[in-house]
Amino acid sequence: MQNFKKGRHLYSAYSLQKRLLLFSSSIILLISSSLISVAQTKPLINSTLNGIVSDATTGETLIGASIQIQGTTHTASTDNKGKFNFVTGQKFPYTLIVSYVGYKTAILVVDGSPVNVRLEPEASQLNDVIVVGYGQQNRKTLTSSVATVSAKQIEDIPAAGLDQKLQGQASGLLVSANTSVPGSGIFIRVRGSSSINASNDPLYVVDGVFINNRTLQSITTGGQQTSPIADINPGDIESMEILKDANATAIYGSRGANGVVLITTKRGKLNKKAKVDFGYYHGVSKAIKFWPTLTGEQEGILQNETWLNDGGAFNLRPFRPKSEGGLGLPEEQVTIDRVGLIFQNAPTDNFDLSVAGGDAKTSYYLGGNYFNQEAIVKPDRFRRASFRINLGHQFDEKIKIGVSANLVSTFRNMTPNNNVPNGTVNGALYTPVYLPLYNEDGSYARPSLFENPVAAIKETIFKDVGSRVTANAFGEYKITSGLKFRTSWSIDFNESKAVNFYNSKLQLGQAPVNGTGTTALNRNVTLINEQLLTYDKVWDNIHQFNATVGNTLQKETFENTSVTGVGYPTDEFSQISSSASQTGTSSESQAGLVSFFGRLSYGYNGKYMIDASVRADASSRFGKDNRWGYFPAVGIAWRASQEEFIKKLNLFSELKFNASYGSTGNQNGIPDFAALGLWNGGNNYLNTAGILPFQLANPNLKWETTTQLNLGVNMGFFADRFNVELNYYDKYTSNLLLQQPISQKLGFATIFSNSGEISNKGFELALNGQLIAQKSFSWNARINISTNKNKIEKLNTPILDNRTIMQQGSPLYSFYAHKQLGVNPENGDVLFEDLNGDKALSDADLQIIGDAWPDFYGGLGNEFTYGDFDLNVFFNYSLGNSIWNNTRYRMGHGGSRNGVFAQLQDQLDRWQKPGDITEVPRLTTKGNNASIIPDRFLEDGSYVRLKTVSIGYRLPKKILAKHHISNVRIYLSATNLLTFTKYKGVDPEVNTMGSNQNVMGYDQAIASQPRTFQAGFNVAF
């Protein structure tokens, strides 16, 4: 009570504190009152019960099973021999509830001691307890839409980040790798995209802690960004839940609009002896496909043809004999394969070592990982060393504490690899093949616009060293039966130091620069504190009730320091202190979030369920009047299979209908001070500091809000051997956080505002089946099919962005160009569609020519076991999406590309003489053929890909037992083995504009996904 009085003083100060105080005092009151009730209980001994708990099928005793007498709070657990005993005030007979993770809970009436309890293992995933926001629920009684991905499903995929591993694994989840560079960003969307300028990435929560997925990369590589999600070792993951509908995500309020990926890491179990797991695999990757460029001779022929087509004199054609001052005849040209020089067979190595176990009070998990993956394009690589410790300690029946900590060190070797002239792929691919690689004096030649690819690989220093600590400590106090209080304190400390140096042999560093280098230090620190009070109660075994209330406080700080040095004495010096001139910059920014949330669930007899939740969030990013956002949701479910009339049908082992509706918010991804009218510094002139207006104020700026309706049905047949889950969702996002273009006559191009609306609607179908389930042979199949219809419902003005347009009535990721109807057989000119019929081509004839959204996407997995062998075959697919092939555009538009860009084999199909029917126009550098961008570079990007095949063998237990080894699995696997597609580029899974979230399916000079073969083993002791 002392505390409460102390609080009164603050009470009058701020309304926010008022809420907090009310909250904290009510918790204290609750705790105090419960203590009184505990103290008042009087002891009575009426019976003593002994027993043993074992597995009903194997007969093995179960350690740590929980035994509770119904209607009391008194529980006991089995010891390391599976035995229990307790003394109670209850008189025989009474009802005993025996539960153990992975087994069906047994409810039995006992009328004497001892008892022998045999638990049946859970048969299928529908029985699983799954993790949801701030709690756990039983999948059977779930009212919301949640997809689960188990660790086993993704263990053989050799990807650095768990986000990439999720591709095709869950319905409603669209995942596409942007590049082949390991540890770089992944395009991931849960049920479509609902934002333009705020983030579209899901929220990641590891063991209840928000994980920041803001990239710390500040030195550009030309489009791609490092992914903070690659900091999580997939080997530590037990399971992942993807929360999709509003009922599941509204408890995350302002951060839930893009779905939530909940990650549960491995933990030790009480009363379990230490289990040591060791795993290793080695893989080798190479490119699936290369670009078909012209030979030197073909280049010569085509460039001469362009010259003549443009009216050039024959005797001055570029590829004429050297004696006449030309480049030599076409047939004299060499063909230099630069592309071959940058690719490699890239190794991947992964080591995982973990120990898990526990005694009666303490459980532990220690996991270490070392992952090293090189990219197929030299010299990129990603290395991760991580260490995780998860500890739990049960002080007594009431108090439990725990700590989780993940320490990660990452190393990336990078190159400007994407869309920049000094990039490796640009230099190798775009430089015409007849041009020399080295000058006569042996120095690197740069005969076109682009960097010499060998120089880019050998001379560039570009590395990023990341250090990350994600730690969480919690205390849990069981106040009375069913009432629990939990407080949790977390830190996510993420730091990256990037060093880049271009010496004088490189394009960017050559004389008179004499070397340029930048060192950047970025740090993102998130501190989170959470309190959670939960109450669980079951009345008469038919009324199930759960209540959860809590709060979260979060503070995020972002710091950047960067120094650039120019002019180095020799190439041996690369440290900035050796440079002739140095410039530096440093900045810091903060944001805060204060939240309160609650949830009530009620279930009647496992048949009718209703959930309601609400979260209130206050963000520092918005003006005072719009600071608070409220996000409610409600969900209902009806398990028809529990009704007698359905049971009589004898058809369904499970039949559940569920529906939910609710709203979530989004504020991620916008600048910390987007609502304020600001001026910034650094606008200097002649080394004197200057200031300029930076942005206009929008005091009305507030949350982006997404409402979502979800309708679902779950069916199980033949004792749940076959399961069908079908969901329909309708998401509608309003008050879109938009960098709204305004008239530039005001001196500003945009203002952050809430304007615009976007909808996403779709179906998700997931089928699971144990097609064959015999002892020696089994076949499990799972398939998921998802659709998403995205539409910008309202946008004040269209927004043009390179080849894409965002406009009302069309989906995001729409491509915009002039439509090519064909090539005039008479003169070889492109025939463009004249939309407005004015007989002239102008911007008015631009149109939307397609979008990057697939009609259908998903995955198909098959798991076979035969004796000790297992085989996994996993496909993922994307059908109906378009790709803007800008590589082909750059290498095949505008005649001969002036000898600056190499050309692709397509160009050989060009129109040459009247009567030719082709889609490649007459080669010319003049007129519409060269200046207007036609839609022939938009392609069907549909594909079906055999993503992984793996075959494993478990060594027979009999042999292993002698050596005290419990399990050994050896396996071989292949990734990206086959791809079925009509796409002309090297890979339909591509997105060059990884750093621009409003562009998808844009292909420009990106290497294909790697095809990887790997071999590995797992040993458990």
Partner: protein, 471 residues
Amino acid sequence: MWHFKINYNIMNLKKIQKYTIVLAIPLLLIASSCKDLLDPKPLLYVSEDNSIVNKKSAEAAVIGAYNALSQNSYQGNTFRYIVNLASDNLRWVGNSPSNREFDVHDVFATNTSVSSLWGALYSTINISNNIIDKVPKVEDQTYSQSERNVAVGEAHFIRALAYFDLVRLWANVPIITERTRSPNSGDGIGNSGPIAVYQQISDDLDVAQSLLPLNPSAINRNRASIYAVYALKARLFLYLKNWGKAADYADLVIKEASKFTLVKPYAQFFNAKNTTESIFEIDYTINNKNSFAGNWFASNITGGTKELLPTDDLIALLRGPYGGDRKALLLDINTPPKGIITYGNMNFKISTGENQVYVLRIAEQYLIRAEAYAELEKPDDAVADIRTVRLRANAADNDLNGLTDKEIIIAKVLQERRLELAYESHRWFDLIRRGLAEQVLGITDPDKLLYPIPRQELLVDPALKQNPGYK
């Protein structure tokens, strides 16, 4: 057992209360820090209200205005290459179709360079408007009236320069003279015709002339001075065909011979910075670079993009008898395997980005006066001015002997301007104001002499109208 348990609980009661306190204390700590959590300070910025509040911040804002003027999307790069490409001095050999549009005089309203230049011009105008509005109201006793006059005078000059470039490129543009307070500040302000825009420029220059020190003891050639105002006025009246005033203002600058001279040799004015040639020169440092030079050379020389090359026409003239020392604007480089390529050059320093931009220089004033004299039927004075510029470059001048025909003299002035100011963004406008653009550049559609208002602007601003001939 039970007894023990209960005792255990009682024994632990105090302990548990302790836990409760331990749990509650942090909650209270949090409560008191909540305000901090929701009101972090924007460390990188100052609020609009704290922007121009004293002498120091006012002067920083003026520096900001020069920064806006010097940015790459305006004087630093875009403006210069757009205008040079449109003329017959440079040709586009790069690959971007959108830059080719300037070369072939068919500019689309979606052209990104047009739109970024438009934006840069108006952000330059907005900072000027802020200075003009706020500086006189600043409450700072250490900030003298004469210091304030200089700041406001410079802002008026910078604003005039931006409107001058706007009216030359688009002719019909919105005139904004109030600082932007909200997204609705400019509601309803549509395009004004060229007469109104020229009036605005003239007014701004009058104010600048009245505020800037009349006889400055020293000239900072990187900032606007009274002479920069005179020089820009001379150019303004040349465009307005007010020949008398054009000659008078050019005269005001030329007669300050101790301050402004034609330096020798010709290349000296760009090989060194801030020579007496310059009236207003925007300068760059390693910390504040421009990217203009990067467009000129091939990558094997200094990491350029080789997108601009001088036309054969210009090369021939510069190497001819009337080019003289001005052939220094050309650079032959052996570019294997293609052999010798002639590049344009003004001591370009691609990698450091420190090339100066010449906004106003004395040679132009001679040629403005020459053209005005010719129009005012003073052929001898006109020829004398042309000859002065020619001889500085050691070029032949015998063709000028005995010239009296106005049209021939004017043609000589135009050719002289073309060579003397080759890469300084004058040629395109000279051809247009003299009505020669269609004939010389082979433009068939006269609407193409103006640029389109960026498409995005028309989409967001119902008050704006597109220029004729654009959709």
